[in-house]
Symmetry: C2
Subunit: 206 residues, 2 copies
Protein backbone atom coordinates (compact mmCIF):
# COMPACT_ATOMS: atom_id res chain seq x y z
CA UNK A 1 0.00 0.00 0.00
CA UNK A 2 2.94 2.27 0.63
CA UNK A 3 3.98 1.34 -2.93
CA UNK A 4 0.81 2.92 -4.26
CA UNK A 5 1.69 6.15 -2.51
CA UNK A 6 5.24 5.96 -3.81
CA UNK A 7 3.97 5.53 -7.36
CA UNK A 8 1.88 8.63 -7.11
CA UNK A 9 4.81 10.58 -5.75
CA UNK A 10 7.18 9.37 -8.45
CA UNK A 11 4.64 10.33 -11.14
CA UNK A 12 4.35 13.83 -9.75
CA UNK A 13 8.05 14.31 -9.11
CA UNK A 14 9.97 12.39 -11.77
CA UNK A 15 13.28 13.97 -10.78
CA UNK A 16 12.84 13.56 -7.03
CA UNK A 17 15.71 11.78 -5.30
CA UNK A 18 15.12 8.27 -4.05
CA UNK A 19 13.79 8.53 -0.53
CA UNK A 20 13.12 5.97 2.17
CA UNK A 21 9.78 4.26 2.62
CA UNK A 22 9.05 6.13 5.83
CA UNK A 23 9.56 9.48 4.13
CA UNK A 24 7.37 8.39 1.21
CA UNK A 25 4.66 7.26 3.57
CA UNK A 26 4.81 10.58 5.41
CA UNK A 27 4.57 12.47 2.12
CA UNK A 28 1.59 10.38 1.01
CA UNK A 29 -0.09 10.93 4.35
CA UNK A 30 0.39 14.67 3.96
CA UNK A 31 -1.01 14.59 0.42
CA UNK A 32 -4.06 12.69 1.62
CA UNK A 33 -4.66 15.36 4.26
CA UNK A 34 -4.36 18.17 1.71
CA UNK A 35 -6.63 16.41 -0.78
CA UNK A 36 -9.19 15.77 1.95
CA UNK A 37 -9.14 19.44 3.01
CA UNK A 38 -9.74 20.49 -0.58
CA UNK A 39 -12.60 18.04 -1.16
CA UNK A 40 -14.21 18.72 2.24
CA UNK A 41 -14.18 22.41 1.34
CA UNK A 42 -15.55 21.94 -2.17
CA UNK A 43 -18.16 19.25 -1.50
CA UNK A 44 -18.69 19.27 2.26
CA UNK A 45 -17.53 16.77 4.87
CA UNK A 46 -20.63 14.56 4.70
CA UNK A 47 -20.56 14.27 0.91
CA UNK A 48 -16.86 13.33 0.69
CA UNK A 49 -16.00 9.63 1.05
CA UNK A 50 -12.57 8.04 1.59
CA UNK A 51 -13.15 6.47 -1.83
CA UNK A 52 -13.56 9.93 -3.41
CA UNK A 53 -10.30 11.05 -1.79
CA UNK A 54 -8.54 7.93 -3.11
CA UNK A 55 -9.97 8.48 -6.61
CA UNK A 56 -8.85 12.10 -6.64
CA UNK A 57 -5.28 11.02 -5.82
CA UNK A 58 -5.16 8.00 -8.09
CA UNK A 59 -4.73 5.73 -5.05
CA UNK A 60 -6.66 2.66 -4.05
CA UNK A 61 -9.07 3.05 -1.15
CA UNK A 62 -6.85 0.60 0.74
CA UNK A 63 -3.90 2.98 0.38
CA UNK A 64 -5.89 5.76 2.01
CA UNK A 65 -7.24 3.35 4.60
CA UNK A 66 -3.64 2.42 5.52
CA UNK A 67 -3.15 5.96 6.82
CA UNK A 68 -6.65 6.83 8.01
CA UNK A 69 -9.31 4.36 9.15
CA UNK A 70 -12.14 6.91 9.23
CA UNK A 71 -12.98 10.30 7.83
CA UNK A 72 -13.11 11.65 11.37
CA UNK A 73 -9.47 10.55 11.87
CA UNK A 74 -8.55 12.35 8.68
CA UNK A 75 -10.32 15.50 9.84
CA UNK A 76 -8.51 15.45 13.17
CA UNK A 77 -5.19 14.87 11.42
CA UNK A 78 -5.70 17.94 9.25
CA UNK A 79 -6.53 20.01 12.30
CA UNK A 80 -3.56 18.58 14.26
CA UNK A 81 -1.35 19.58 11.39
CA UNK A 82 -2.68 23.16 11.66
CA UNK A 83 -2.07 23.21 15.40
CA UNK A 84 1.53 22.04 14.88
CA UNK A 85 2.20 24.80 12.38
CA UNK A 86 0.85 27.39 14.78
CA UNK A 87 3.04 26.00 17.57
CA UNK A 88 6.14 26.45 15.39
CA UNK A 89 5.09 30.05 14.66
CA UNK A 90 4.46 30.76 18.31
CA UNK A 91 7.86 29.37 19.32
CA UNK A 92 9.49 31.78 16.87
CA UNK A 93 7.43 34.74 18.07
CA UNK A 94 8.14 33.92 21.73
CA UNK A 95 11.86 34.45 21.13
CA UNK A 96 11.39 38.10 20.10
CA UNK A 97 11.97 40.78 22.69
CA UNK A 98 9.95 43.77 21.47
CA UNK A 99 6.18 43.69 21.64
CA UNK A 100 5.89 45.40 18.26
CA UNK A 101 8.13 42.77 16.67
CA UNK A 102 6.11 39.94 18.22
CA UNK A 103 2.74 41.28 17.09
CA UNK A 104 4.07 41.95 13.62
CA UNK A 105 5.58 38.47 13.26
CA UNK A 106 2.39 36.89 14.58
CA UNK A 107 0.22 38.88 12.14
CA UNK A 108 2.39 37.91 9.16
CA UNK A 109 2.71 34.26 10.26
CA UNK A 110 -1.00 33.90 10.97
CA UNK A 111 -1.96 35.48 7.64
CA UNK A 112 0.49 33.18 5.81
CA UNK A 113 -1.15 30.26 7.60
CA UNK A 114 -4.63 31.44 6.59
CA UNK A 115 -3.66 31.83 2.94
CA UNK A 116 -1.90 28.44 2.91
CA UNK A 117 -4.99 26.77 4.40
CA UNK A 118 -7.69 28.93 2.87
CA UNK A 119 -9.82 25.87 2.13
CA UNK A 120 -10.11 25.37 5.88
CA UNK A 121 -12.26 28.48 6.24
CA UNK A 122 -14.69 27.36 3.56
CA UNK A 123 -14.83 23.91 5.13
CA UNK A 124 -15.59 25.29 8.58
CA UNK A 125 -18.22 27.65 7.23
CA UNK A 126 -20.18 25.01 5.35
CA UNK A 127 -20.06 22.13 7.79
CA UNK A 128 -21.52 22.93 11.19
CA UNK A 129 -20.62 19.41 12.38
CA UNK A 130 -16.98 20.12 11.74
CA UNK A 131 -17.04 23.23 13.88
CA UNK A 132 -17.72 21.24 17.03
CA UNK A 133 -14.52 19.23 16.58
CA UNK A 134 -12.58 22.16 15.17
CA UNK A 135 -9.49 23.98 16.34
CA UNK A 136 -11.74 26.36 18.28
CA UNK A 137 -12.06 23.54 20.75
CA UNK A 138 -8.44 24.24 21.55
CA UNK A 139 -7.42 23.73 25.10
CA UNK A 140 -7.28 26.67 27.43
CA UNK A 141 -3.55 26.23 27.99
CA UNK A 142 -2.72 26.93 24.36
CA UNK A 143 -5.00 29.98 24.28
CA UNK A 144 -3.28 31.35 27.39
CA UNK A 145 0.14 30.75 25.88
CA UNK A 146 -0.67 32.78 22.75
CA UNK A 147 -1.99 35.64 24.88
CA UNK A 148 1.12 35.57 27.12
CA UNK A 149 3.53 35.47 24.17
CA UNK A 150 1.79 38.35 22.39
CA UNK A 151 0.75 40.59 25.25
CA UNK A 152 2.48 39.48 28.47
CA UNK A 153 1.04 38.09 31.68
CA UNK A 154 -2.00 40.36 32.03
CA UNK A 155 -3.64 40.90 28.66
CA UNK A 156 -6.31 43.62 28.62
CA UNK A 157 -9.84 42.80 27.44
CA UNK A 158 -9.08 44.57 24.15
CA UNK A 159 -5.96 42.45 23.67
CA UNK A 160 -7.90 39.27 24.44
CA UNK A 161 -10.59 40.29 21.95
CA UNK A 162 -7.93 41.12 19.34
CA UNK A 163 -6.53 37.60 19.64
CA UNK A 164 -9.94 35.93 19.49
CA UNK A 165 -10.90 37.96 16.45
CA UNK A 166 -7.64 36.95 14.75
CA UNK A 167 -8.68 33.33 15.27
CA UNK A 168 -12.12 34.08 13.79
CA UNK A 169 -10.44 35.46 10.65
CA UNK A 170 -10.41 31.80 9.67
CA UNK A 171 -14.18 32.00 9.26
CA UNK A 172 -13.94 35.30 7.42
CA UNK A 173 -12.04 33.48 4.65
CA UNK A 174 -15.39 32.27 3.36
CA UNK A 175 -16.16 35.87 2.34
CA UNK A 176 -13.05 36.18 0.19
CA UNK A 177 -13.09 33.05 -1.95
CA UNK A 178 -13.00 35.22 -5.09
CA UNK A 179 -9.52 36.62 -4.36
CA UNK A 180 -6.22 35.26 -5.65
CA UNK A 181 -3.76 34.24 -2.92
CA UNK A 182 -1.73 37.44 -3.20
CA UNK A 183 -4.77 39.74 -2.88
CA UNK A 184 -6.15 37.59 -0.06
CA UNK A 185 -2.85 37.94 1.77
CA UNK A 186 -2.83 41.76 1.40
CA UNK A 187 -6.44 41.99 2.62
CA UNK A 188 -5.93 39.72 5.60
CA UNK A 189 -2.78 41.58 6.63
CA UNK A 190 -4.74 44.84 6.80
CA UNK A 191 -7.42 43.11 8.88
CA UNK A 192 -4.91 41.52 11.26
CA UNK A 193 -2.98 44.77 11.66
CA UNK A 194 -6.24 46.63 12.32
CA UNK A 195 -7.13 44.10 15.01
CA UNK A 196 -3.69 44.10 16.60
CA UNK A 197 -3.40 47.90 16.29
CA UNK A 198 -0.37 47.68 14.03
CA UNK A 199 0.41 50.37 11.47
CA UNK A 200 -0.43 49.54 7.85
CA UNK A 201 2.48 48.52 5.72
CA UNK A 202 3.57 51.26 3.33
CA UNK A 203 1.93 50.70 -0.03
CA UNK A 204 -0.71 48.32 1.32
CA UNK A 205 -4.14 48.73 -0.26
CA UNK A 206 -7.03 49.78 1.89
Amino acid sequence: MIQAGANVLSEREPDAPVVGRAAQAAATRQQIIETAQRLFAARGFQATSLQAIADEMGLTKAAVYYHFRTKAQLLHASLDFAVEEMTVLLDEVAGMTSRQERLDAYAVGWVDFLVRHRELGTMLLHDPEIRAASIYAENDGRRRRVLRVLFGDSPTPTERMAYVMCVWMLEGLGELTDLADEDLRATLLLTARGLLALPDQPGARR
Copy 2:
Protein backbone atom coordinates in the same frame (compact mmCIF):
# COMPACT_ATOMS: atom_id res chain seq x y z
CA MET B 1 -53.37 31.84 28.99
CA ILE B 2 -52.86 35.48 28.20
CA GLN B 3 -54.08 36.08 31.75
CA ALA B 4 -51.08 34.19 33.11
CA GLY B 5 -48.76 36.46 31.16
CA ALA B 6 -50.65 39.54 32.36
CA ASN B 7 -50.28 38.42 35.97
CA VAL B 8 -46.55 38.12 35.64
CA LEU B 9 -46.34 41.57 34.11
CA SER B 10 -48.49 43.17 36.80
CA GLU B 11 -46.31 41.56 39.49
CA ARG B 12 -43.18 42.97 37.92
CA GLU B 13 -44.57 46.39 37.13
CA PRO B 14 -47.13 47.30 39.82
CA ASP B 15 -47.34 50.91 38.64
CA ALA B 16 -47.62 50.16 34.94
CA PRO B 17 -50.63 51.71 33.22
CA VAL B 18 -53.45 49.44 32.18
CA VAL B 19 -52.64 48.21 28.68
CA GLY B 20 -54.60 46.19 26.16
CA ARG B 21 -54.44 42.41 25.99
CA ALA B 22 -52.57 42.49 22.69
CA ALA B 23 -49.85 44.69 24.17
CA GLN B 24 -49.63 42.42 27.23
CA ALA B 25 -49.36 39.36 25.03
CA ALA B 26 -46.59 41.02 23.00
CA ALA B 27 -44.74 41.91 26.20
CA THR B 28 -45.04 38.35 27.51
CA ARG B 29 -43.84 36.98 24.18
CA GLN B 30 -40.81 39.26 24.35
CA GLN B 31 -40.08 38.20 27.95
CA ILE B 32 -40.26 34.55 26.94
CA ILE B 33 -37.72 35.21 24.18
CA GLU B 34 -35.35 36.97 26.57
CA THR B 35 -35.67 34.26 29.22
CA ALA B 36 -35.05 31.58 26.60
CA GLN B 37 -31.92 33.37 25.35
CA ARG B 38 -30.59 33.56 28.89
CA LEU B 39 -31.28 29.90 29.69
CA PHE B 40 -30.02 28.65 26.31
CA ALA B 41 -26.79 30.56 27.00
CA ALA B 42 -26.42 29.31 30.57
CA ARG B 43 -27.48 25.67 30.12
CA GLY B 44 -27.32 25.06 26.38
CA PHE B 45 -30.13 24.69 23.86
CA GLN B 46 -30.51 20.91 24.25
CA ALA B 47 -30.68 21.04 28.03
CA THR B 48 -33.32 23.79 28.21
CA SER B 49 -36.97 22.69 28.03
CA LEU B 50 -40.05 24.85 27.45
CA GLN B 51 -41.03 23.77 30.99
CA ALA B 52 -37.80 25.20 32.39
CA ILE B 53 -38.47 28.49 30.62
CA ALA B 54 -42.01 28.55 32.04
CA ASP B 55 -40.70 27.76 35.56
CA GLU B 56 -38.13 30.52 35.35
CA MET B 57 -40.85 33.06 34.50
CA GLY B 58 -43.49 31.78 36.92
CA LEU B 59 -45.75 30.88 33.99
CA THR B 60 -47.50 27.62 33.20
CA LYS B 61 -46.05 25.59 30.36
CA ALA B 62 -49.36 26.21 28.55
CA ALA B 63 -48.75 29.95 28.68
CA VAL B 64 -45.38 29.52 26.98
CA TYR B 65 -46.88 27.02 24.54
CA TYR B 66 -49.53 29.62 23.58
CA HIS B 67 -46.72 31.74 22.09
CA PHE B 68 -44.26 29.05 20.95
CA ARG B 69 -45.15 25.46 20.02
CA THR B 70 -41.53 24.27 19.89
CA LYS B 71 -38.11 25.29 21.14
CA ALA B 72 -36.98 25.67 17.53
CA GLN B 73 -39.77 28.25 16.98
CA LEU B 74 -38.55 30.10 20.04
CA LEU B 75 -34.98 30.07 18.78
CA HIS B 76 -36.00 31.44 15.41
CA ALA B 77 -38.09 34.13 17.08
CA SER B 78 -35.12 35.31 19.11
CA LEU B 79 -32.98 35.48 15.98
CA ASP B 80 -35.77 37.23 13.99
CA PHE B 81 -35.90 39.79 16.74
CA ALA B 82 -32.17 40.40 16.34
CA VAL B 83 -32.52 40.78 12.58
CA GLU B 84 -35.33 43.33 13.04
CA GLU B 85 -33.19 45.40 15.40
CA MET B 86 -30.34 45.42 12.93
CA THR B 87 -32.72 46.48 10.13
CA VAL B 88 -33.79 49.49 12.20
CA LEU B 89 -30.13 50.40 12.79
CA LEU B 90 -29.29 50.04 9.12
CA ASP B 91 -32.24 52.25 8.09
CA GLU B 92 -30.89 54.96 10.38
CA VAL B 93 -27.34 54.60 9.09
CA ALA B 94 -28.49 54.62 5.45
CA GLY B 95 -29.87 58.13 5.93
CA MET B 96 -26.46 59.59 6.80
CA THR B 97 -24.51 61.32 4.06
CA SER B 98 -20.88 61.10 5.19
CA ARG B 99 -19.06 57.78 5.13
CA GLN B 100 -17.35 58.53 8.42
CA GLU B 101 -20.70 59.25 10.08
CA ARG B 102 -22.20 56.02 8.73
CA LEU B 103 -19.30 53.83 9.88
CA ASP B 104 -19.28 55.48 13.28
CA ALA B 105 -23.06 55.08 13.77
CA TYR B 106 -22.88 51.47 12.62
CA ALA B 107 -20.00 50.69 15.01
CA VAL B 108 -21.84 52.22 17.98
CA GLY B 109 -25.18 50.62 17.05
CA TRP B 110 -23.66 47.21 16.45
CA VAL B 111 -21.73 47.31 19.73
CA ASP B 112 -24.89 48.37 21.60
CA PHE B 113 -26.66 45.42 20.01
CA LEU B 114 -23.87 43.04 21.05
CA VAL B 115 -23.91 44.25 24.65
CA ARG B 116 -27.73 44.10 24.80
CA HIS B 117 -27.68 40.52 23.47
CA ARG B 118 -24.41 39.32 24.96
CA GLU B 119 -25.98 35.98 25.90
CA LEU B 120 -26.38 35.30 22.19
CA GLY B 121 -22.62 34.95 21.74
CA THR B 122 -22.30 32.42 24.53
CA MET B 123 -25.27 30.53 23.17
CA LEU B 124 -23.81 30.36 19.67
CA LEU B 125 -20.42 29.32 20.96
CA HIS B 126 -21.70 26.42 23.03
CA ASP B 127 -24.35 24.97 20.73
CA PRO B 128 -23.03 23.94 17.34
CA GLU B 129 -26.56 22.93 16.28
CA ILE B 130 -27.72 26.48 16.81
CA ARG B 131 -25.06 27.86 14.51
CA ALA B 132 -26.52 26.16 11.47
CA ALA B 133 -29.84 27.97 11.96
CA SER B 134 -28.22 31.15 13.15
CA ILE B 135 -28.15 34.67 11.81
CA TYR B 136 -25.03 33.79 9.83
CA ALA B 137 -27.38 32.00 7.49
CA GLU B 138 -28.62 35.46 6.57
CA ASN B 139 -29.68 35.93 3.01
CA ASP B 140 -27.25 37.39 0.56
CA GLY B 141 -29.52 40.37 -0.11
CA ARG B 142 -29.21 41.60 3.48
CA ARG B 143 -25.44 41.18 3.47
CA ARG B 144 -25.19 43.17 0.25
CA ARG B 145 -27.39 45.91 1.70
CA VAL B 146 -25.13 46.37 4.72
CA LEU B 147 -22.05 46.55 2.50
CA ARG B 148 -23.73 49.08 0.18
CA VAL B 149 -24.94 51.25 3.07
CA LEU B 150 -21.53 51.28 4.73
CA PHE B 151 -19.14 51.34 1.81
CA GLY B 152 -21.06 52.13 -1.37
CA ASP B 153 -21.65 50.05 -4.50
CA SER B 154 -18.17 48.54 -4.87
CA PRO B 155 -16.79 47.55 -1.48
CA THR B 156 -13.10 46.60 -1.51
CA PRO B 157 -12.02 43.18 -0.19
CA THR B 158 -10.77 44.88 2.99
CA GLU B 159 -14.16 46.54 3.49
CA ARG B 160 -15.95 43.23 2.94
CA MET B 161 -13.66 41.55 5.43
CA ALA B 162 -14.19 44.38 7.94
CA TYR B 163 -17.95 43.83 7.77
CA VAL B 164 -17.69 40.06 8.10
CA MET B 165 -15.37 40.38 11.07
CA CYS B 166 -17.82 42.78 12.72
CA VAL B 167 -20.46 40.05 12.41
CA TRP B 168 -18.04 37.54 13.94
CA MET B 169 -17.60 39.80 16.96
CA LEU B 170 -20.77 38.06 18.11
CA GLU B 171 -18.69 34.91 18.61
CA GLY B 172 -15.91 36.85 20.29
CA LEU B 173 -18.34 37.73 23.09
CA GLY B 174 -17.68 34.28 24.52
CA GLU B 175 -14.16 35.46 25.40
CA LEU B 176 -15.37 38.42 27.44
CA THR B 177 -18.02 36.94 29.73
CA ASP B 178 -16.08 38.25 32.76
CA LEU B 179 -16.64 41.91 31.85
CA ALA B 180 -19.43 44.16 33.11
CA ASP B 181 -21.62 45.66 30.38
CA GLU B 182 -19.84 49.01 30.43
CA ASP B 183 -16.35 47.49 30.09
CA LEU B 184 -17.60 45.09 27.43
CA ARG B 185 -18.99 48.05 25.50
CA ALA B 186 -15.68 49.98 25.67
CA THR B 187 -13.71 46.92 24.55
CA LEU B 188 -16.02 46.07 21.67
CA LEU B 189 -16.01 49.68 20.46
CA LEU B 190 -12.21 49.58 20.19
CA THR B 191 -12.43 46.31 18.27
CA ALA B 192 -15.12 47.59 15.91
CA ARG B 193 -13.28 50.85 15.30
CA GLY B 194 -10.07 48.93 14.62
CA LEU B 195 -11.88 46.77 12.09
CA LEU B 196 -13.66 49.67 10.40
CA ALA B 197 -10.50 51.83 10.52
CA LEU B 198 -12.13 54.48 12.71
CA PRO B 199 -10.11 56.61 15.12
CA ASP B 200 -10.31 55.63 18.78
CA GLN B 201 -12.62 57.69 20.92
CA PRO B 202 -10.77 60.13 23.16
CA GLY B 203 -10.31 58.56 26.58
CA ALA B 204 -11.08 55.04 25.40
CA ARG B 205 -8.95 52.32 26.97
CA ARG B 206 -6.70 50.24 24.80
